[in-house]
Amino acid sequence: MTISRRIFVKSGGLALVSLGLDPLFLARAAFAAPRPVGPSARPVLVCLFQRGAVDGLNMIVPHGEPAYYQDRPRIAIPAADVVDLDGHFGLHPSLAPLKELWDNKSLAAIHAIGSPDATRSHFDAQDYMETGTPGQKSTGDGWVNRFCQHDREHADTPFRAVAFGPQLPRILAGTAPSLAIDDLQAFGLRVPQEGARDRLTRAFEELYDGAGTGLLASSSREGFEAVQMLKRADPTQYRPAAGADYPPGWLGKTLLQIAQLIKADVGLEIAFADCSGWDTHVNQGSSEGQLAARLRELGLALAAFNRDLGERTRNVVLLTMSEFGRTIRENGNSGTDHGHATAMLALGGPVNGGRVLGRWPGLAVEERFEGRDVAVTTDFRDLFGEILARHLGATDLGAVFPGYTPSPDRFLGAIRD
């Protein structure tokens, strides 16, 4: 550690940071040749966690497989409704707004991806996907946080890793600073008058300076630093670009605020958001219905995000993830139970899009995991690892995924050369 973040922020580095050029970055730029320079060139990863286990088979539909229709008499997406991608797979009709991105090769789907661990517990599986250590419950920190700990190239700003929501998710837990923001507009102390607000902020900052060590102390410190930076960025003035129309609701609002942070150049490298409502045990629906409504919101939100970012998408990758997939066969309630592999979406300029990536094991009974679920052919760490290495420039994946080294041989080619 060459310089404490605290001193850095307090000693006037702010002006530089608000341009996206922090002193460390400048100092290192000369040595980090392949690293893009300049505010709009900093690579960003946005992770969207579909909590509750999304039904990958109805999101990216294998409409070329007869078994899909045999096992899902009530909830399969009729072939006529599927937005065909490559003759075998297609998008759920609710995701039609994303077809344009597929066509311009900035959207890829990854199928049959998941965890090597067989658990069908939401809790465990989410935990494993966030810690990056399937089967290991003792891991305390998340893989995004470990990336931030080990990759010092991108100097920390309080906004380097941000989760949207009132709670800091497991994926960001750890010793590297990370931030949970419920609402960007309301972040900070609520005192109408600016002078009084600054004074109160300083008073609380001093109080917590004496809080010693531990989570309370570090969380408060990071909070105050973020408040100061955000003050410069002035988020209240934001308007989405190019007529981007985010759908109402939490997801739209959150992606709008992520776009805002990206454009504000406050040093954002990884953003994380949850979107829930995928645990469709009962009356999942088909082209219309419960899952269709959730996917419609997702499709509209992602399309709006892409439009809003415009030219900036060339350095942004958005990745969806979910803890596992759902049973191939529909259950007795026109829903699906907990399964194994699922599908993920990657979109953005750096994405090698227009393709369904990963080896598709098919739905033949003998290929199924435990005779019932889509088998995992891609360990999620291979995808996460590829994105960290080839998009964010991570050099030490072994430290990010202990006990496992994602190897370039197993990379799917999700990121363009």
Binding site: L189, L207, L216, H281, G332, N333
Partner: protein, 524 residues
């Protein structure tokens, strides 16, 4: 039973596990953990009675008079509602919403839905429940029972936003959880399994043996087939009828409610358990939405699980299974460790967990015995434990109300405050409930929200008088809000901030706000 109590009380009096703490500090600690913090002066009065005696009284909650709470409860209409009434109104509201949606779809005019909000009553119901929880936690004299109600409601989490749970939750809390909060674990487990709220939330109400059909539907399906042919059966109808088992409740029962995720069960065990619970369902709204066992939906085959065999014994299969699960070692350990995380430390020492398990074994799951074992364990009283836990959002808000002597009102604002701090009541969609460890609620955004909450509540503080002398003011705050545990650093920062404030009201609001929002008050 009385003999047992007397005997225990004697042992406690002799044991006095509070060596390193003053009687007042011990009382303050007990009030932080067994209650929602100390009201002004309460640490002294508990110390005066004797902390162990106070703990025994809290364990015997039925004998504590609670007239102020009873008065406050009378203002909550929700407590007069009957589940059957609510069920009928919910069904009407659902139909009304569907009708509006159909009309909107037919006319292509999505604006038609605006203004008409048939579900509004049920959204407000959820809000009332949250307000009631805050009032009870803040004013009840039976503090430990309120803490345990919160613990169990979270352990057996039901998400208020899921369909029928909007109206099933009130009876879940009043009839299922509250009467059993200090009772036997087994009784509580069975009650939750039979509760319409849980049956709906984890989908067991829809879990039926494959191939089974309801007697009434057998006739109508036959008629329909004659009239339309099977494939022309109305789509909605075909989709609605459950035709197989649903594993959701079975899995969460094992993973979350009883054995724990490391409890050593398999996917096959989950399926067997799900088969045992087929037929545990809910009456239709016109019959009150109560529990019903549907024999036609039950899987009558033989099931093998955890070394037990279940052979066509109807509902009793499930009861027998629950009784067995309630007293398995993995369950005792899982639930005891969670209790110790709540009461002792986020990472509880083995000693208190072992003591709780032993008491569970000896009393067959009497929660009062288990809790007593935790509170008399030396681990509960060590300096590592005292002041080591960060309050949850709910604990923070309620303890602030108690310390400042703010009577919680019947507006949604306090519940909204709890939500803003990260843990809205009854609104955790995942069956895990909220975690018991600080990493889940301490983060920079949430801390800023606590400071904002503190400044807001400080304006209404009535426990601290406005005093001209700043040093005296800060001392008064230390005594009333923090039981004399305010750090020297906090004192000096607050005094510094007061330096140029001359108006005593303003000084009080600033000082109380900083004290409530500062690090000392976050801890318990």
């Amino acid at each position: 039973m009385p003999l047992f109590l007397i005997a225990t009380a004697c042992v406690l009096a002799v044991q006095a596990p509070v060596q390193s703490l003053t009687p007042r500090d011990s009382a303050f600690h007990a009030l932080n953990r067994l209650a929602y913090g100390a009201r002004p002066g309460e640490a002294d009065s508990v110390a005066h009675v004797g902390v162990m005696k106070w703990i025994e009284r809290q364990l015997d909650a039925d004998h504590i008079s609670d007239s102020h709470l009873a008065e406050r409860e009378r203002q909550f209409k929700i407590l007069d509602y009957d589940r059957a009434d609510l069920a009928g109104r919910y069904r009407d509201a659902t139909r009304e919403r569907q009708r509006l949606q159909r009309e909107a779809a037919a006319s292509g005019d999505s604006t038609r839905m605006r203004g008409a909000r048939p579900m509004q009553e049920f959204r407000e119901l959820g809000g009332q429940l949250q307000q009631l929880a805050i009032v009870r936690a803040a004013v009840s004299e039976r503090q430990l029972r309120e803490v345990m109600v919160d613990f169990w409601t979270n352990h057996f989490n039901v998400f208020v936003g899921k369909g029928a749970d909007r109206f099933l939750l009130p009876s879940y809390i009043e009839e299922t959880i509250r009467p059993r909060a200090l009772g036997r674990f087994e009784d509580l487990l069975i009650a939750t399994a039979e509760s319409p709220a849980m049956l709906f939330y984890l989908d067991n109400a829809q879990s039926v043996a494959p191939g089974s059909t309801p007697p009434a539907q057998r006739r109508s399906a036959f008629l329909l087939r004659r009239r339309f042919g099977m494939n022309e059966m109305p789509e909605e109808r075909r989709q609605r009828r459950p035709t197989g088992i649903n594993e959701n409740y079975a899995r969460e029962l094992l993973e979350l409610h009883t054995l724990g995720v490391d409890g050593g069960y398999t996917q096959q065990d989950v399926i067997e358990v799900a088969r045992i619970f087929t037929g545990w369902s809910i009456e239709p709204p016109e019959r009150g939405s109560g529990f019903v066992f549907r024999d036609w939906a039950h899987d009558h085959g033989t099931k093998h699980v955890f070394g037990l065999t279940f052979q066509d014994d109807g509902k009793d299969e499930g009861i027998r299974l629950l009784k067995s699960l309630a007293n398995q070692h993995a369950t005792m350990h899982h639930v005891s460790a969670k209790l110790c995380a709540r009461f002792v430390a986020d990472e509880p020492p083995d000693g208190c967990v072992d003591a709780a398990v032993a008491a569970w074994q000896a009393s067959r799951g009497d929660m009062r015995a288990v809790l007593r074992a935790i509170f008399t364990s030396p681990d509960f009283w060590t300096s590592q434990a005292v002041g080591s836990k960060v309050k949850t959002p709910f604990e923070f808000v309620v303890s602030a109300l108690r310390a400042t002597a703010i009577e919680p009102d019947d507006t949604p604002r306090l519940a909204q405050l709890v939500a803003r701090l990260g843990e809205p009541l009854y609104q955790q969609p995942a069956p895990t409930g909220y975690a018991e460890t600080e990493a889940h609620w301490v983060n920079s955004g949430a801390l800023l929200a606590r400071m904002n909450a503190a400044m807001m509540l400080a304006k209404e503080c009535s426990s601290v008088p406005a005093i001209d002398d700043h040093a005296q003011l800060v001392d008064a705050i230390d005594q009333k809000l923090l039981g004399g545990t305010m750090s020297a650093h906090t004192k000096s920062v607050i005094l510094e901030q007061l330096a140029d404030i001359t108006d005593p009201e303003q000084a009080r609001a600033m000082a109380v706000g900083l004290a409530l929002g500062g690090p000392d008050f976050q801890k318990q």
